[in-house]
Structure formats: C-alpha cells, structure tokens
Symmetry: C2
Subunit: 423 residues, 2 copies
Amino acid sequence: MPIVVQKYGGSSVADAESIKRVARRIIDTRKEGNDVVVAVSAMGDTTDELLDLAREVSPMPPPRELDMLMTAGERISMALLAMAIADQGHSVRSFTGSQAGVITDAQHGRAKIIDVTPGRITEALGKGHIVIVAGFQGVSKETKEITTLGRGGSDTTAVALAAALRASVCEIYTDVDGVFTADPRIVPAARKLDRITAEEMLELAASGSKVLHLRSVEYARRFDIPIHVRSSFTSKEGTLVTDQPAPEGEAVEAPIIAGVATDRSEAKVTVVGVPDRSGMAAQIFAAIADAEINLDMIVQNVSATETGLTDISFTVPISEGPAAMQALSKIQDEVGFASLLYDDQIGTLSLVGAGMKSNPGVSATFFKALAAADINVEMISTSEIRISVVMRDDRLDEAVRAVHTAFGLDSDQEAVVYAGTGR
Amino acid sequence: MPIVVQKYGGSSVADAESIKRVARRIIDTRKEGNDVVVAVSAMGDTTDELLDLAREVSPMPPPRELDMLMTAGERISMALLAMAIADQGHSVRSFTGSQAGVITDAQHGRAKIIDVTPGRITEALGKGHIVIVAGFQGVSKETKEITTLGRGGSDTTAVALAAALRASVCEIYTDVDGVFTADPRIVPAARKLDRITAEEMLELAASGSKVLHLRSVEYARRFDIPIHVRSSFTSKEGTLVTDQPAPEGEAVEAPIIAGVATDRSEAKVTVVGVPDRSGMAAQIFAAIADAEINLDMIVQNVSATETGLTDISFTVPISEGPAAMQALSKIQDEVGFASLLYDDQIGTLSLVGAGMKSNPGVSATFFKALAAADINVEMISTSEIRISVVMRDDRLDEAVRAVHTAFGLDSDQEAVVYAGTGR
C-alpha cells in the first residue's frame, strides 16, 4: 500500500472543530487506499502561550527545559487528533518524536535530524493503524534528551518521515492554496503554481517565501521526496514541489520564472573605510561567524584606489543585527576600519526561476522593469537561478508588482513567459 | 548526602508566582544539605482543561491517547519548575515519568508501578543537580507505552521514587497543615496530628480522608518510607506518617484514636429476599466482581427463618452504582431474589486508631456517643483498628462532632485519650 505523509500546521488544528475536520481528511486519504502517517504541530497559539509561561518564570530558561516545555504542545494536539480519528471508527496510534524514532543532534531549540528509525511507525502501519506523529521534536542520539527542531520544524519532521518510510508523497497542509508567483497580499494578480522544482522552491524559501520551511525543502530535495503544498480548507490540488519530470501531457516546457519573493526581515550592515589589504574581509567575516550570525548578501564596493580604503556591506536578520554590530565594534581597532552603519529600513526582492540559466535576457528585463518603476537598487546578488536586489523597504511592494507584470506572471494576462520565447 | 523526595500538588504550582515560591522551598531544602528529588503534578486546572478538550473531540477517547494527552500537563509544570530553579542559580534537570524510570503495567488511566529504575536520576544527583520528575505518569514495561497512574498518582510517584532512591523521607506538600483528627471543615475543633502510624493512615485514607492517596500509603508502608504531610504555604512541621517508633522524649504512649473519617461518596445497594441457601451470596458478589465494581462494606441481615429469605446490603462508590444495579438485574431470575433497593443518601463515619486493639471500651464509647446524638446506625463494619457505621448523610456532620468530642479529640479540651486510661 502506498504511504502518504501529511503535515498539518497549528492553524489547521486550532480547536476541536478544526481537529475533527482534519481527522475526516486523514480518514479520506486512508479510504483512498493509502497508509497514512501524519505530522502535526501544536494547536494554534499553544507554542506562544507556553513561551509566555516560561518567560513569566525565567527570563533566560535553560534550553533543555524549554524544549521539554515546548514539546508538550504537540503531545496535546497529536493525542486529540488521534482521539478524533478513533471517534470516527478508525484505529490510530500517536507517537512522540522520540517514539517515532526522530533522532537529532543535541542542539536544544534548533536540533538537526540526523536519523529516523521509524520501527514503531512501520509496525503500527502493519497492524492497520493510522499514525500520528508529534512534529517539531525529536530525541538526541548521544544524550537521550528531548529536543526541538526550531520554528517550522514540523515541515521537516514530515519530510524526514516521508524519506524514512519511502512515502510516495509528503503533503504539507497550510492555510493557502499552494505556492504563488508572489505574495498574493502584495500582488493580487499572483498565480498559484501547479509545479515548481525543488531547486526553485529552495531559492524562494531562502528569499523570504514563508510557505515552506527552508530546511524541509533541502531535506526533500536530498531524498527526492515530492512535496505537495495544499490548503487544509479545500480539496483543490495545490503545488507539487519536485525535480521529477512532469507526466506526459502536462506543460512540455517549464516557465523561465517560478516567482518573485520578498523579505523585510533583514538589515544592512556597512563597514566603512576598510583598509584595502588582503585578509581584512576575512577578519570581518570571522568575527561575524564567531558570533554565530547568519550572513546573507555580501557586497564589497569597488575600492577607491587613491585612498586605499573600501566599504563592505552585508545583510543579516534584523534579530541578529545588534549582535553583529557588537561583534564588529570589538575588532574595529584591530582591523582599522573607519565606522559602522546600520540600516533596517531595507527590503529584498528576489526573482527565482530555473529557466534563467539558459535565458540571458532575464536580467535585462528585470532591471528595465525596476528602472521604469524608478526603484533605486542598493545591492545585487545572484545565483544560477536567482537575482536578488536590496532597496528601500517602502518601495518593495511597488517593485514586486512591476517585476511580476514585466515577466507576464499576472494571472489575468494571457502571456505567460515560457522558456524559448527569447524574452 | 541524605536524599529528600518532595511532592507538590497542582494547587502548589497553579501559576508562575506559586512555581517560584515552590522553587525557593526546594532550594532551601537543598541548602540544608540534602539531595532533592521532586515529583510535581500538573498546574492547577490543567488536567481538567485537557479532559474537557478530549471530550470536545470524542465522548469515548481511547485510553492510550488519553494518557498521552494527560501527561502533557506534568511535562509543562515540571519544565517550568526546573526553569524557576535554574533562574535562582541552581543546576536542575527535569525528567518525564518514562525518563525517571517509573515502570508500570499497561492499564492506561490506572496503571500500577511495578518497578522504578532511577538510573538517570541517580546520575543527575551525582552531578549535583536538583531533580524534578513528572508525577502521575510512567511507561509500561511490555508495550513501552506512556501510562498514567490515575488521580492522586503523583503521591504514589513520590513515594515510589523515595523507596527506589532509599530517601530519608518523602515530603508530601499540600494545602492543609497535615493530617487532622477529623475534617476541620466539619469539626472546627479538629487537631493536627504530629504522628500517625501507616496502618492508621491507610484506614483513614480508605475511609474517606483525602489528605493522602490510599495507594501511596500502601506503597510507603510496604517499603517503610516515612511520609511527612505538610503545607506548602507555611514552614510548620506537618504530620509524620510512619510505623517507626517515635524518638526518645516524644509522647511515650500513642493515643488510642488517630481520627474520625467521613465519606459521602458511596451508595447502598440492598438485594431483598435472597433465598437463604449456600452459594447465593457468592453468585451475587461474582456478578459485582465481573463488572469490576469495588465493594466496600457488606452486611447480611439475620435470616427470617420462617420465610427462608434474607437481605444482603453493601456499599459501592456512587459512580459505580448504576453499573452495580445493572449487573444485579441480569442475575435476578437466576438467583431468585425479590427486588433491588438503591440509596445514595448515606454517609459513612469511621473511627480509626491502632490503640483499639487493646482497648475494649472503645466500641461502647463510640455507640454511646452516637446514641446520645440520636443517630440511627444502618450498617456496621469493623477491622482491627477501625469501626465504620453507615447513617443518613444529613446526620453525618453532627455524628462526627459527637464522636470527636466523646473521644476527647477536640483541641480546646485538655483530656486527650491515651492508651491505658481504660476508657
């Protein structure tokens, strides 16, 4: 029997009625002739409520105890979901992350899955049970401690289970219909994608798209697990994230552009007046790395040769901005740069599409559209299938709409850009 | 270092402030030079809230999933308590029942502890940590499923840990000052006992005293663990429950009477007109046992020889009354009794005291006091150290006060009945 892994987020199981609705959907999947394994998040606001309780007790709770606390959330939702399924006459077993064999490293609060040993799940499926698994949590290999995967970790749990169980598909249920060419709240004309490659989805997730958690897409890509992103409120097909070729009869050529992502969560740090000698940049980035801060875009301006000085700019998550400034201040004398600038009023726009590789006209169209909308581009970074630009954040929405239209992505337009049109 | 096991109930950890207060008390015990292991219940109303959620989802949730759900409650309280202790600068580890090695049978919702393997606790104590353990829960030996011990099970967890760790004492913190000679809400003159034997405490708990859970007293008695029942709101000494002799200098003779317990939770079932032949009673009690109903008191009236018929009365918990009536109705034709009577307007009064064994005057004083208060006794049952009587429930309070006074238990009286006074 094919195995389908499903994941339901907190908003899909926010109350008893929602839980019953999700239970019916799970049972429907079972009735269609599948073994069903479900990863579930904590109900609605449970995670935030537990965090509030923790803060009332201690401003800096030990990470081990915080993980112990947070994992109570999925324990509640998974047990209730199992009860709702049993109430509709189907046999079911719920398992914690530890029971499900989700083995992680020992980094509390942001553990990485290092193995999945789903013996109890396989046994339960063999006995005809539907299986519910607590998302977001696991147990550390060395210390046997309860761990959490960090926010969005339930997506990763689902994909990891799908890989370990050799599932035919991993369905991620959410409150939107699938992956869109842009955020529909910013671009009302955004279209739902039927298919997208894992590589493209990875770039979109890294560029600010919130639909799927970056780590889950990486995991799915590595194990070649198709992800079906769909709404838990309708039965419509959503978006299939896969590098596998489309079946015969579907679109013969993939579109050049998959979508436009936006990100307002980063700040720009500029190190001004860095002596233009080898090793200076290395010292700066070593300081950032030692502070465990994630860098995103990096730009080094052309050196003004007469001064022998250069400026280095990079983006970091706003939440890590203060730590970055502190780390750099400490090495100011040593490196000998002039000053630091901090700017959190920036927005990043990223154009993502596998078809870019073979279509040199994409960059020209992109920058022409931005210029026509009078957008001042402050930083540029590219990958093989992505162009990202930094601008003032109050210009971001306008820029996205301009780019979306320029590439013919608007849903009320006939002209969809396909590879080979030479645009 | 001596090990002290403490247990805090739900009302002691109802909110962040209470949790911090309990944390300070635990740290004080640690500072006095003890290794401290704490069993904690779920916060305040958490257990009831989780039960409500379960009922919203399913009227008859599977016991396995209900246990999975309920155990989230202690996971939350134990993690928060550990955080509060860490916040005050002490190293601490929390463990679930399963992690703490609380091994049970597989009866979900009312599992029995069959072994405690506290390897992780001992290791944590060895590293200087304070240890917090989730009360009320364990893991089944055969099936490795999460189980709960039933209501009041946290007391049993604490005592079982104390036994396994060879603790010097098991302190049960509650919202009263200790064990009283009677329920102070009924008898304002009730006195707190400094000491009581485990045998007496067992009879009091079985007779309706709510201070300690019956199973925890049985467990403590079997392993000879002293229980110190005390208030989490004061630092006063409470009541020591132990069969060990009092140290030199304390009361040389134990009082005859430990206390008077009351119980309104039972109903009386009377099987009327049972043929007075051997085997009839056996059939009746077999039917009750098959329905897994707990009988308490049983009385068979003297047979009316001219009719060859007899009446059999017994008490059952009110919650099991309907099931008892149903089980008996099914065998009416077979046994040939005339009818069934059901009465839930009864109250039970029990006088408990180890000194009764050697003091024949106790019964006389007891029934004289009831007669003087004009109480009509409907059923009588006795053990070596207990006399119980059933009466109308609206007379119970008056009866308790009369008996309490008759045995000189009132706290404003000088005359305390000691063994050897011949009363």
